[in-house]
Structures are given as structure tokens and as C-alpha cells.
């Protein structure tokens, strides 16, 4: 077994036991990057020297007993919309092509305290807008399970890096499915925590009311362990609440009596039959372990996408106003006056999908349309939240697919935006309602690509989905 095959927690245990050093682990990852990165393009920035230097420091702190965190010494990759002090942070956009943050995001601070070795910054859809990692200004990322296919997005670089063993775990951000969907496409575990659990300070905002940082990793144990480290109450983020419990406590192989709701509306038209079969199969496995399954109608599923794109585009149009060529980032070479400078800088700096959403967002907020579009979407959001509240009065967990299909081929999705947006149908309402959800592998389709299972929990009930996911994962090892 190669070092690279270890999960993050296993590796950390071996480092702690003195069997492997953090330096060896880092070198192993860097060697793997040498081999596969040219093909997969998981990273925007790789900090080889910095990573080795960190590894040395961390190793000596582990040896001296100063660092005892369950992930100390483990190499991690960070999505390129999360600020890292002194390390390029581009959001995979030309407009931030030269931006070096002067502070680190709170999650990065939390990781550093826990002795993480930061390898670099992963590729993504520009400003997290996209589902394929094809809108990056720094090239597409390929799916390590099949390089002709996309890794999903927007955290495609993070998912692919984990799948390709180019890191042991990664951070992503999820605004409408951006952690869960690429995790599903790449066959890794990904989780979007309850909104407010992980500080957004230092996450370059897309849709502020929907964005949440979370882990992409190799198994459920890693997922709970990482979440324990990155979740915190941060006084710099007004919407931060922080950790409600120890997530690793939920790593229990038992779902007896766990009530699992299966929304019929998640299994209708548009769902690939192989995906459907694999997901329902997973439900049966859980039933065989004592879970109580029940089908139900969640409702409103088809309204989540239009509501989401209205809200996310509106917030994005405002969040991205700060990129104007004055304080940081790209500024156009030639301009006639201030407004010309703004327009040229932004038109040259942003890619097509980002411009599309900024235009839409500016329109739905503009005079005369605010009530009809934006307020309407916020009302629908309230209805969607209510539908989930009703469901969670009956069930501990909601089970469904992550995405309607397995990873599409490169170049297939971008031509029809609405079709691309439809791919988010099972993940998007979770962000609108602020809920936690985990994505984990539940089989391989006949095309050889992984299929993702999604488990959704009520607010702050991460432990229900972690326990269910863990039990399912263990069942796979037992059978």
C-alpha cells in the first residue's frame, strides 16, 4: 500500500506514531502531482517549497508533542476562492490573476492551527459559477476517473485532486452543490455543512446567503474529522454560529430506527436509470441495517432552480462590484476615463458565465423588477424552507441522488446554460434552506464513472447524516 492510499486520518495516525513523517507524506503528494497534474490540471497554484517548509516545521512540532490534532502533518489542497495569506488566490478568474491576499480565511487559520500542510490552490469554475470547472480562466480540470469527462464543479479542482491523490483532502465551497456534485462525479466524499457552521471570513463571496465551505475527502471519517477542525464561531463573520457538537462522535456503525425519507420528486423524469438504481440500492442497504425508509413528496423541487439563480445572481452582481481595477487585481491597459476603465477592466477580466450572471443579477434588482423577481424568489425560498421543515418533522435524513447523471463529457454542458443549471436540481434547494448534506460514492455506472449518494439533514443535525453515511460506508466494507 502506498502512502497515497491512506485516508487523511489514517495518515495522521501514522505520522503521530512515527511510522511516516509529514515530510514524506508531502513529498509523496508532490511526486504524484509531478506525474498526473499535467493531465488533470487540479491546481491553479502549487506551492512546492512552501509545502515542504511547512511539513518540516509541523513534523518537529508533532515530535515535540506541541501538535496533537487528528490531522497534523497531512497535506491539504484549498479551493482558489479561499484567501491564503501570501499565496495567490484567483477564483480562477483573470480579474484576480495577480491577487495575493494579505490575510488568510478563518478556515485556513483553523487548518494551520491543526497542523495542515497547504499544498496549493485548486482550480474551480470562475468565481464558483458553474458545474463543470470549465469556466476557469486557467484551463479545464479533468476527471481522474475518466479524463474525457468533467470533474464537476465548481469545486472540481478540489474533488479531482482528492480523487487523483494529489492531496489527502481538500476544502471546497458550496453555493448550489459545488462541493457535493464534483464529489459525486469524482467518487469522493464531500459535505456542505449547515449555513453558519464554517466561517465565511476570507471566502471570496459568490452568493453570500448560500455560500458555505466544506470538506472533500476520501471517507466519512475524514469528513467528520475535518469538519471538527474547520467549524468555529468566528466573530469576524456576523452570520457565523459555529460548531454545535463533535462530529466524530457520529462515526457510529448503526442506523437502527433512523427515519429516512425518500422524496419521490427526486426520482422522476431526468434522472438517469443507473443513478436511480444505485441510489435506491443504497437506501436498501441502510434499510437492511435497521433504518426505516419512507417515500414522500417533498414538493417545490422544480422551483428551487429559478429561485436560486435569481438570488445567487443578484447577490453575485453586488459581491463582484468590488472588482473594479482600483484596489487589487486586473486593470485594463488603456482607458479614456473612469467609467471606461471600469467597463474595460470588468469586461476583459470576467469570463462569459460570470458576466451572464452579473447581468442577470443586475437586471433582477433594477428599478421596477425587484419585487417581481428578487422578492418573489425570497418568498419561494421561504416556502422551500418550510417544505424541508415539514419533512424533517417526520424524518431524520432525506436520501436522494446528488446529480441526475454521472459526469458529462468535457464541452457538453456550457452550450446550454439552462440545461447545465438543471444538473443542480437535487443540490440547490439545500443551499436555499441552509441545510447540511453529504455526498458519498454509491456505485459505478456502466461508463465507469462514479455515482453519488446524497444524504440531507436538518439544520445543525450533521451528525444524523454522518452516522448514516458512515454506516453505509461500513456496510460496503462488510459485504
Amino acid at each position: 500500500m502506498s502512502i497515497l492510499d491512506y485516508t487523511a486520518t489514517t495518515l495522521a495516525a501514522k505520522i503521530k506514531a512515527g511510522e511516516i513523517s509529514a515530510i514524506e507524506a508531502t513529498k509523496a503528494v508532490l511526486e504524484q502531482i509531478e506525474k498526473t497534474e499535467e493531465l488533470y490540471n487540479c491546481y491553479v497554484t502549487i506551492d512546492k517549497d512552501g509545502a515542504l517548509k511547512q511539513a518540516e516545521e509541523i513534523q518537529s512540532k508533532i515530535e515535540s508533542g506541541e501538535l496533537v490534532s487528528p490531522l497534523a502533518g497531512v497535506p491539504v489542497a484549498i479551493k482558489d476562492n479561499i484567501c491564503t495569506e501570501g499565496m495567490l488566490t484567483t477564483c480562477s478568474s483573470k480579474i484576480l490573476g495577480n491577487f495575493v491576499p494579505t490575510f488568510s480565511a478563518e478556515v485556513v487559520e483553523n487548518l494551520k492551527k491543526a497542523g495542515a500542510v497547504i499544498i496549493g490552490k485548486t482550480n474551480m469554475d470562475e468565481f464558483a459559477m458553474g458545474s463543470t470547472t470549465e469556466t476557469s480562466a486557467y484551463g479545464v480540470t479533468r476527471n481522474p476517473k475518466n479524463p474525457e469527462h468533467v470533474p464537476g464543479g465548481s469545486s472540481g479542482g478540489s474533488a479531482a485532486a482528492v480523487a487523483a491523490n494529489e492531496c489527502f483532502y481538500a476544502l471546497g465551497s458550496d453555493t448550489g452543490g459545488s462541493i457535493r456534485q464534483p464529489a459525486g462525479y469524482c467518487g469522493v466524499v464531500g459535505m456542505k455543512p449547515t449555513y453558519s457552521t464554517v466561517s465565511r471570513y476570507g471566502l471570496i463571496a459568490y452568493g453570500s446567503s448560500l455560500d458555505q465551505i466544506g470538506p472533500l475527502c476520501k471517507d466519512v471519517t475524514d469528513c467528520a474529522t475535518i469538519l471538527d477542525i474547520i467549524s468555529s464561531h468566528d466573530t469576524k463573520d456576523s452570520t457565523s454560529v459555529g460548531k454545535k457538537t463533535d462530529y466524530t462522535k457520529a462515526l457510529v456503525n448503526d442506523v437502527k430506527g433512523m427515519k429516512i425519507g425518500i422524496p419521490r420528486d427526486y426520482f422522476g423524469d431526468g434522472l438517469d436509470s443507473e443513478v436511480k438504481k444505485a441510489v435506491l440500492n443504497a437506501a436498501k442497504v441502510l434499510e437492511s441495517r435497521g433504518a426505516i425508509l419512507e417515500e414522500f413528496d417533498l414538493g417545490l423541487v422544480e422551483y428551487a432552480i429559478p429561485a436560486y439563480y435569481t438570488i445567487a445572481a443578484a447577490e453575485a452582481s453586488s459581491n463582484l462590484e468590488r472588482f473594479d481595477g482600483i484596489k487589487y487585481g486586473y486593470r485594463t491597459e488603456e482607458f479614456s476615463d473612469l467609467h471606461n476603465m471600469y467597463k474595460k477592466t470588468r469586461s476583459e477580466g470576467f469570463g462569459a458565465e460570470v458576466k451572464r450572471r452579473i447581468m442577470l443579477g443586475s437586471f433582477v434588482l433594477s428599478s421596477g423588477y425587484y419585487d417581481a423577481y428578487y422578492l418573489k424568489a425570497l418568498k419561494v425560498k421561504a416556502l422551500i424552507k418550510k417544505a424541508f421543515d415539514d419533512a424533517f418533522s417526520k424524518y431524520d435524513v432525506i436520501l436522494g441522488p446528488v446529480a441526475p447523471t454521472t459526469a458529462p463529457k468535457l464541452g457538453e454542458s456550457l452550450s446550454d446554460p439552462i440545461k447545465m443549471y438543471l444538473g443542480d436540481i437535487y443540490t440547490i434547494s439545500i443551499n436555499l434552506a441552509g441545510l447540511p448534506a453529504i455526498s458519498l460514492p454509491c456505485g459505478i455506472a456502466s461508463n465507469g464513472l462514479p455515482i453519488g449518494l446524497q444524504l440531507i439533514g436538518d439544520c445543525y443535525k450533521e451528525n444524523n447524516i454522518i452516522q448514516t453515511a458512515y454506516t453505509y460506508e461500513q456496510a460496503g466494507k462488510e459485504d
Binding site: S238, I326, K327, L365
Partner: protein, 478 residues
């Protein structure tokens, strides 16, 4: 035949709050720092930064709302106002549109035409912008974000004012209330209070308002008066010529004495307000309102009435002394020590005002201690020093806050009560000035003043003027 027109004015008043830190970050609001020295990722709009609300801003805004008889909005939100401008680092300003913190208030003003109420439509909280400096050398502009994120309240009046006098009375009223609260120093010339004037005209008796314009860049009461007069005439001229007034924002140029429209095709004036998702709602409970109410200070009108009643001050004195909170505080603290309210009032209204004017200072810049003023008043009262010495010593107190007891002692300024010595001096002066003696005897009472002055001069100003008078009269009546 010329018609008569009525001017209708409403005001948008921005007040910089006197918090130590900015509204959404822990940067200092102090003036005078190097450019951008009081900035951080939040107030310069760095990617990834997030705002956290300064509690004191809510308290000040609520206090101003209560003092202006507003209803306090108990469920508040902040909204983003989106517009591109280099002084606005995020290209949106965090403000309140949908749920402003205060609504439906009023304040009473008094002008020559009597008393009247001016309605307050709303007060909302928002952040200030940075400063743009034009660089002649490179023909570019430079941005300093030190003021970016300084907390403001915007007080929006109803269109209840009809003249520049009323506007000024209203601004004075707001200034007094806010200064008494300690919520701001409200200086028009320094920009901590800024008034935008919304003005329209209509034929006297018309029911509908005319089209209004908004006038910006008014930095003094004088500029406000001139701009109102100018804009009123400009609008009347347009109407008389059969043209119509355009609803627009205009900028007043006080040097040139006219205003011009601030227009640009790139200025859509469509701010796309929406609730800021980065900030949580602010809920102001009944208890919190009560707590803020219980801390409200005594305002000017009550204070004035109390000074008349408690200290027996003439209304004229009470009026002037309460015009600035600093002055009123000085009065009360000094009186508490020396127990001579009228004497204190005289010093504040007379010498203090004179010296302030000479130094080109505002009453709220007074920097001497009430202890020293009280000591001085007592030194004069118990006859240790005479009036003219007291005046000189006060100047020293005003400028350097010296201890008058020490100063009088060290400089030998005590009043000279040696009658024998004084008599000899006066005899000499009378002998040297026969003309004045003659004049006096011919009934020119003024002549004695000259002789007193000469005596003072000869004694280095320390003689007791009462005693001089007494001796002089004795000698002259011989």
C-alpha cells in the same frame, strides 16, 4: 403681473457619529492620520472580508431618534446601495432603505415668525465613503479610505420648511440635540454634519408640490442660505419662462455663487437596493429602548429653563450659554465650585466669547478647566486682584489653562491696598495734570477717568480702583 411663489424645502442631513471605531470594523475614526492608515480589509472592500456592526452606532441612532420624537423600528435590516465610484470601495454602500431605524419624528423650531414643527420622515444608519483627492501633477485622482466606513446617520426631514431661516433653525436644533447627546460634534465646515437641500417652488396656495432638485456641497449656514435663494430664483425663472424644472442633483459652488447639475449618462441612479446578506437583523427590544431613554441627557430647552429658575440667570444669558453643550457644562461645573452663577455667566458670555472669536474657535473647543475659572472668579470676588488684572489672568487661563492662584502669586499681581502710598502717587499725578483737574472742576466727569487710568499705570495695574476713586475725589474736592 408677477405671481408669488412659495419655497418648499426638505433636508437630508448626514451626521458623522462620534464612535471611536468605524461602523463595520475596528479601525479608528480619528482625524488627521496619514492616508489609508486607518483602514483594513473590511473598509477597503478586500475580497473575503465581512462587516460586523458596531453596537454604539445603533445606540447613538436610537438616542437621536428618541430625542427627535421618532418611532424606533424594532426590527432593522441593512441594505446594499449599489453604485460604482472610487470612494466607495465595495462599489456598494451599506445603508438602510426598507427598514430605517427611526421614523415619523418631529422637532420644534423657532424663527422670527414664531414656533413650528418640522417633521422627520426617517433616520437611517449607513457608512461614509472615502476621500478623493485630485492630483494636478499626474492629472489623476487619489483615494484615501480613512473615512470609508465611518458611521453616519442620515436624517431625512419632511418638506416642511419654507425659508432659509427655517432651514437654519432646524439645523441648529438638530445640532444642539445631537451635540447634547454626544453623538456627534456636528460641524458643517468639517463635514461631520452635511446638509443636502431638496427644494421646489409652487405658486402660493397651490396644493401640489413642484418638481424638486437636490443641492449638495453646502458647507456653511451662509452657503445654505445663498444656495436656497439662488435655487429658488433659478426655478422661478424657469417657470416664468414657461420651462419646467428637471428633477436632478445639483452641486453648489460657493465661490462662484451658483450651482450646476451633476449629470452623467453613466449615472443611472438605479441603486438596486437589497438586504445585505452579510449582516444579521438588528432587533431593538423595549428594554433596550428604555435603557437608552434612561441615559438621555438634559436637552437644551430644559437646561435653559433650569438655569433661569435654579441660578436666577437672565433669559438672555441662559440662551447663549446653552447654545453649546460645552459652554453649558463649563457653566455648571464652574458654578458648582464658586457658587457665583452670574459672574460665571458674565465670563463665558463676555471674555470667553471675545477670545474665541479672536482665536477663530468654536465654543466646543474650550479647553480650560472649570476649576481655574472658578478660582479666578473667587480671587476677583474677594478682592485679591482687581478687574483689569483678572481680565489678563483669564486670557492666560483661556490660552494655557494656568492656575490663577499660583500665577497671581508668582507674578505679584495682588491688588495694592496701601492707601498711604497710593495717596502720595495720586498727589503727584494730580499735580502733573492741572488741565484734567480743571476739566473735572468744570463739570467734565470724564476727566476723572483719565486720572484713574494714570494712577493704574503708575501702580502697574494692581491698585484697587475703588480706593483710587475715593482718594482722587477727596483730593479734587479740596
Amino acid at each position: 403681473m408677477s405671481k408669488t411663489y412659495e419655497t418648499v424645502i426638505g433636508l437630508e442631513v448626514h451626521v458623522e457619529l462620534a464612535t471611536k471605531t468605524k461602523i463595520f470594523c475596528g479601525c479608528s475614526t480619528a482625524f488627521g492620520a496619514e492616508p489609508n492608515a486607518h483602514t483594513c480589509p473590511v473598509c477597503t472592500g478586500m475580497p473575503g472580508s465581512l462587516p460586523v456592526l458596531n453596537k454604539q452606532v445603533v445606540e447613538y441612532a436610537t438616542a437621536v431618534g428618541l430625542a427627535t420624537n421618532c418611532k424606533i423600528t424594532q426590527y432593522n435590516k441593512f441594505d446594499r446601495k449599489n453604485y460604482f465610484y472610487p470612494d466607495n470601495p465595495q462599489n456598494y454602500q451599506i445603508s438602510q432603505l426598507y427598514l430605517p431605524i427611526c421614523r415619523d419624528g418631529k422637532v420644534e423650531i423657532e424663527t422670527e415668525n414664531g414656533k413650528k414643527f418640522i417633521g422627520i420622515h426617517e433616520i437611517h444608519m449607513e457608512e461614509d465613503a472615502g476621500k478623493l483627492i485630485h492630483d494636478e501633477w499626474d492629472d489623476c485622482s487619489l483615494v484615501d479610505y480613512n473615512r470609508s466606513g465611518v458611521p453616519l446617520i442620515e436624517i431625512v426631514s419632511e418638506p416642511d420648511m419654507r425659508s432659509a431661516e427655517e432651514v437654519i433653525a432646524y439645523l441648529e436644533k438638530l445640532r444642539l440635540i445631537i451635540q447634547y447627546l454626544g453623538a456627534s460634534d456636528c460641524k458643517l465646515n468639517e463635514g461631520s454634519m452635511r446638509a443636502d437641500v431638496n427644494l421646489s417652488v409652487r405658486e402660493a396656495g397651490a396644493a401640489e408640490f413642484g418638481t424638486r432638485t437636490e443641492m449638495k456641497n453646502l458647507n456653511s449656514f451662509k452657503a445654505i442660505s445663498r444656495a436656497i435663494e439662488n435655487e429658488r430664483e433659478r426655478q422661478i425663472d424657469l417657470i416664468e419662462e414657461g420651462k419646467s424644472v428637471t428633477q436632478e442633483t445639483r452641486r453648489w459652488d460657493d465661490n462662484k455663487g451658483y450651482s450646476y447639475a451633476m449629470r452623467s449618462k453613466e449615472d443611472a441612479q438605479d441603486y438596486r437596493y437589497f438586504p445585505d446578506p452579510d449582516l444579521t437583523p438588528v432587533v431593538i427590544s423595549d428594554e433596550w429602548i428604555e435603557e437608552i431613554k434612561s441615559r438621555q441627557p438634559e436637552f437644551r430647552d430644559e437646561k435653559k429653563a433650569r438655569y433661569i429658575k435654579e441660578f436666577g440667570l437672565p433669559e438672555y444669558d441662559a440662551d447663549i450659554i446653552t447654545l453649546y453643550k460645552k459652554m453649558a457644562d463649563m457653566f455648571e461645573e464652574t458654578t458648582a465650585i464658586c457658587k457665583l452663577p452670574k459672574k460665571v455667566s458674565n465670563y463665558l458670555m463676555g471674555e470667553t466669547m471675545k477670545l474665541l472669536k479672536a482665536a477663530n474657535k468654536e465654543p466646543d473647543e474650550l479647553s480650560f478647566s472649570p476649576e481655574n475659572l472658578a478660582k479666578l472668579i473667587m480671587l476677583a470676588e474677594n478682592g485679591t486682584i482687581n478687574g483689569s488684572v483678572a481680565k489678563d489672568v483669564f486670557k492666560k487661563i483661556f490660552e494655557e489653562d494656568i492656575d490663577p492662584e499660583k500665577y497671581v502669586e508668582e507674578n505679584g499681581l495682588k491688588m495694592d491696598n496701601d492707601e498711604e502710598g497710593l495717596k502720595a502717587t495720586i498727589e503727584e499725578i494730580v499735580a502733573k495734570n492741572p488741565q484734567s483737574v480743571e476739566d473735572y472742576k468744570n463739570g467734565k466727569d470724564k476727566a476723572i477717568g483719565f486720572l484713574v487710568g494714570q494712577t493704574m499705570k503708575a501702580t502697574g495695574g494692581k491698585a484697587n480702583p475703588g480706593v483710587i476713586n475715593k482718594i482722587l475725589k477727596e483730593i479734587l474736592s479740596r
